[in-house]
């Protein structure tokens, strides 16, 4: 056996694709964890169909998982993949567009049956007809080799078929020089109750690795060294898990019990699942009968003194609208997490979009402002949620935290924060009946006192009818209503004094400023960085706070000749920037249910700088 070459790479993007029953999400997640442990920076994008088990072999049943990792800072899951692992013809067909020219295809030849070829719409087998000549194709009999590895085990052919993804994983571990141990440990802990599955998966995983080692097919192995990340302890985290943990950390800091009222909805359900695990932290999760009950129960819990949250996605947020208004007028703390997905209506449940910004800002009857904070990356969901909780409690207000399907399911390495160094959350219940007025206000924040039932002498009634200033009694007085509307608005505006100023990455003035918000951060940061390396006069500003805006935003905008606002919607933030700051910003919209590619942002930057736009 010839000694195999090892080539060193800065970064690589791999896409695993197969039937939704092929275990591609699991394969991708395992590869991700192992890669994270090796110290690479990374970013992932699961891409799966809305149907749980779409018919096998069909184009719409293809499930994919993309991981972009490297020894440099990684901001996105990768515009295109360098390697495509295709378990069947449909997976190849759907994903070939994402493969770079000259990229590598690793195909499971056993999946390329006549039936599957037909289902995918191939007249001939692409592995044989020369149509893939511009790629490096490695055709491997994955199913057969898997069966071979398991032949002396007395297990069903169904089970054999279901372990083939471990063969692919083992092979990829070999090619990219990753250890098997983390996955071996995982298999052992996961299947303790099912020894035959445990044994099968272990064998197949190792068989895949050995195949790479012994076969002539792969002549090169790749080495991707660890990234230069800030020192500290890391773990991999998805956006949804980060939201759950952000809520728990905030509750702990505030010394309050956490209550989650929620209704299952894609792609936010994992937050409910995650929090349901932590009963030993006194976390109470309530799977309500609907979205409205989800938020209403959270309002009840907040009245009772819990740190209360509700989690949802766009259509669910629409249902929560009226109750959000109630929380605004009650002036009770509440965190509303919206993991955005493609809309309108049911739209694209498993795809990402940024189209709920206007709904988040304005989607309530009456003058009902709420602070809005958006997370930039999967791990940033932790900080954004924690910050939402801090503001909710300090200002006695519902706060909207925006994530999206890409952040929620995507993952990246996370520098685990020092809990003690997290900001304080000043939760305070009033207890003194002397001079107690439910709608009196703190001079600085304008927040009202939190007086919870059970406190002797503080019995009072709150509700959705307009409140009289100070007493909180029902009031229909015109002047009082005007005053209260303004007070509630002013309270939210004042939060601008309590948040960091906006920071420009790059020159603080010049030809072009690109503004991002939410989950497009990574793609836009990558694009701007590359353009700057090419010498372009372009800077980047990422907006974390969408309401209120940082105080210095206007001043920054006026220092640039052009402003570009890429969004995965038809231009929602740009509308607000234009009307608030009267700047002629240029939009860039793509609404495909997918994250931006940084190349398309780069191209747009170039066009603007060349005066083409």
């Amino acid at each position: 056996m010839a000694e195999k070459k090892v080539r060193s790479l800065d970064e690589v993007t791999i896409r695993f694709a197969g039937d939704s029953g092929d275990g591609m999400q699991l394969t991708g997640t395992q590869f991700t964890n192992t890669t994270a442990i090796l110290g690479n920076d990374l970013s992932t994008l699961p891409d799966y169909p809305a149907e749980i088990r779409a018919p096998a072999g069909t184009l719409f049943g293809v499930s994919g998982f993309q991981i972009h990792f490297g020894s440099t800072k990684i901001h996105t899951p990768g515009d295109q993949c360098d390697v495509l692992v295709a378990m069947n013809p449909a997976a190849l067909k759907v994903n070939l567009v994402s493969l770079v020219d000259g990229g590598t295809i690793i195909a499971n030849t056993d999946g390329f049956t006549d039936k599957n070829l037909k289902l995918a719409g191939y007249a001939q087998n692409p592995l044989k007809d020369g149509s893939l000549d511009k790629y490096q194709v490695h055709a491997v009999d994955i199913s057969k080799l898997t069966a071979l590895a398991l032949q002396d085990l007395n297990i069903s052919s169904k089970l054999i078929d279901r372990s083939k993804n471990f063969f692919a994983l083992g092979m990829m571990y070999w090619i990219y020089n990753r250890p098997l141990e983390p996955t071996i440990e995982w298999i052992k802990s996961k299947f303790t109750q099912k020894p035959e599955i445990l044994e099968a998966n272990l064998r197949v995983l190792k068989a895949g690795w050995n195949f790479g080692e012994t076969t002539e097919i792969f002549s090169v192995r790749y080495e991707v060294g660890p990234a230069k990340l800030a020192p500290g302890r890391y773990r991999n985290i998805t956006g949804n898990q980060a939201i759950a943990w952000g809520l728990m950390a905030a509750a702990k800091k505030a010394n309050l019990d956490l209550f989650l009222g929620s209704y299952p909805i894609t792609p936010a359900s994992e937050i409910l699942h995650e929090l349901s695990l932590y009963k030993s932290f006194s976390v109470k999760t309530f799977q309500a009968e609907d979205e409205i009950a989800g938020i209403s129960s959270a309002i009840g819990a907040s009245f009772g003194g819990a740190l209360a949250a509700t989690t949802t996605s766009g259509p669910g947020l629409a249902l929560k609208t009226e109750a959000m208004g109630l929380a605004v007028i009650l002036e009770l703390p509440l965190i509303i997490c919206n993991v955005q997905r493609g809309g309108p209506s049911t739209g694209l449940p498993t795809k990402t979009e940024q189209s709920d910004l206007l709904q988040a800002l304005y989607g309530r009857n009456g003058e009902a402002p709420v602070p809005v904070i958006a997370a930039a990356t999967p791990s940033d969901c932790f900080d954004a949620t924690f910050e939402a909780a801090r503001i909710a409690v300090k200002y006695m207000t519902p706060v909207m935290m925006l994530s999206d399907g890409y952040l929620g399911n995507g993952s990246e390495p996370w520098l685990i924060p020092d809990f003690n160094a997290l900001p304080e959350i000043p939760a305070k219940f009033v207890t003194n009946p002397e001079g107690f007025l439910p709608y009196s206000r703190d001079e600085e924040t304008l927040s009202r006192p939190w007086a919870i039932p059970g406190t002797p002498g503080l019995q009072h009634r709150i509700g959705g009818l307009e409140k009289e200033h100070l007493t909180g009694n029902v009031s229909y007085d015109p002047e009082n209503h005007d005053k209260m509307v303004r007070l509630r608005a002013e309270k939210i505006e004042r939060i601008a004094n309590d948040i960091p100023l906006a920071q420009v990455e790059g020159d603080t003035e010049g030809e072009l400023l690109v503004i991002s918000w939410g989950g497009t951060y990574g793609a836009i940061r990558t694009a701007v960085n590359r353009q700057r390396q090419k010498g372009s006069s372009v800077s980047h500003l990422h907006l974390r706070y969408l309401n209120p805006f940082p105080r210095n935003l206007g001043e920054i905008l006026y220092r640039f000749r052009n402003i570009m606002v890429p969004e995965i919607n038809l231009g929602q933030l740009i509308r607000i920037l234009r009307s608030k700051y009267l700047v002629p910003a240029i939009g860039f919209d793509r609404v495909r249910g997918l994250p931006f590619k940084s190349v398309e942002i780069e191209k747009e930057i170039e066009d603007i700088l060349k005066g083409k736009k």
Partner: protein, 350 residues
């Protein structure tokens, strides 16, 4: 581990239960229902019962939605939350789960409770949180000035049904039973003694208590229940059901209800054919019987059953929540956030 709420709960328990009178439960707000509205009586009976419950008023919370009945919390010197239409039961559920130490009450109406709030209503019943629900049934929308409600009788002419209602009405008692409620009762605004007794029993019941109260809306549906509440007709039109007692009614106590198969029928106790021992004896622990009695409701040949249909024990939701928390803590120890953040596959970057 104690949280800020635990401190409030502890301090609130240190105060003994004051000797209250009904007036102690009156808030400083002017009551603004129409003069003559049945709501006044329900408010007065509730305030009269409160001192007997031995619960400090700062531990009581009244929650409502929207409608005439939903103004109720403003008039109680307790904690209160006047919510949004139909959602009182959902708000109350969250509060009770977060704060099992509180006595939580929902005041609702036929529109708020079982029209717009129907979904939350049935789910509260099945979950069996320890919440008391008082549903003021006036068979009309009062606050929006007189449209038919989900309990209005067929043919009812209102502003939105000029040709008469073609909706078959809900029977709230059957709806509650069908949703697996553990305490279901009916009472009358114009029978203070009975109403007081029922409210007291509802408060004492552990689990969701549902009380339908026939309430006269003298402005938009005056006299809807007069047949069951007024002296002239009441005795012959209502049968008061009481645990362990035979179903007897009539001005002369000369009529009874007997079961013919599964169907109740009216029999005379005067003609010598039947005696008290032939009559149906109420058992409020019997779920099957509760359905039979509830089903008498819209049958014109039968008297309207009033009283406690069902009072059974079933695990209470918030207790189960606490049990799971205690179990998890016993098994895994008190949760430690720093440990959690550092758990799983982690690695160190130097």
């Amino acid at each position: 581990m104690s949280t800020r709420v635990d401190e409030i709960v502890r301090s609130s328990q240190m105060i003994g239960i004051p000797k209250y009178i009904a007036k102690d439960f009156q808030s400083d707000q002017d009551v603004r229902w129409c003069p003559g509205c049945g709501d006044y009586s329900i408010l007065a009976q509730t305030q009269r019962v409160m001192p007997d419950l031995a619960i400090p008023r700062h531990k009581m919370v009244f929650i409502s939605g929207i409608g005439c009945s939903s103004r109720f919390p403003y008039y109680m010197n307790t904690y209160g939350l006047h919510g949004i239409h139909g959602r009182a039961t959902a708000i109350a559920s969250g509060l009770k789960i977060a704060r099992p130490d509180l006595s939580v009450w929902v005041v609702t109406g036929d529109g708020d409770g079982i029209s717009i709030g129907g979904n939350h209503f049935i789910h509260l019943m099945r979950r069996n949180l320890d919440i008391n629900v008082l549903l003021f049934n006036n068979q009309i929308y009062g606050l929006t000035k007189g449209q038919y409600s989900p309990t209005s009788e067929m043919g009812k002419v209102t502003k939105s049904t000029p040709y008469g209602s073609i909706d078959y009405p809900f029977n709230p008692v059957s709806l509650a039973l069908g949703s697996s409620a553990t305490f279901v009762a009916r009472s009358l605004d114009r029978d203070p003694k009975h109403l007081q007794g029922i409210i007291k029993r509802a408060a004492e019941h552990k689990g969701t208590s549902f009380v339908e109260i026939y309430q006269n809306c003298n402005v938009f549906n005056d006299g809807a229940f007069f047949q069951f509440t007024e002296k002239e007709t009441k005795d012959d039109s209502v049968v008061f059901i009481e645990h362990g007692k035979p179903l007897i009614f009539g001005k002369e106590k000369d009529k009874g209800i007997r079961l013919h198969g599964f169907s109740p029928e009216v029999v005379s106790l005067k003609d010598g054919k039947y005696s008290v021992s032939d009559l149906l004896v109420h058992d409020e622990k019997d779920t099957t019987l509760s359905f039979i009695l509830a089903d008498m409701t819209y049958k014109s040949h039968l008297p309207r059953p009033v009283g406690i249909f069902l009072a059974i024990d079933r695990p209470v939701y918030e207790d189960e929540v606490e049990k799971q928390i205690a179990f998890a803590k016993e098994k895994r120890g008190e949760g430690d956030i720093v440990r959690l953040l550092n758990s799983g596959d982690t690695w160190i970057v130097q």
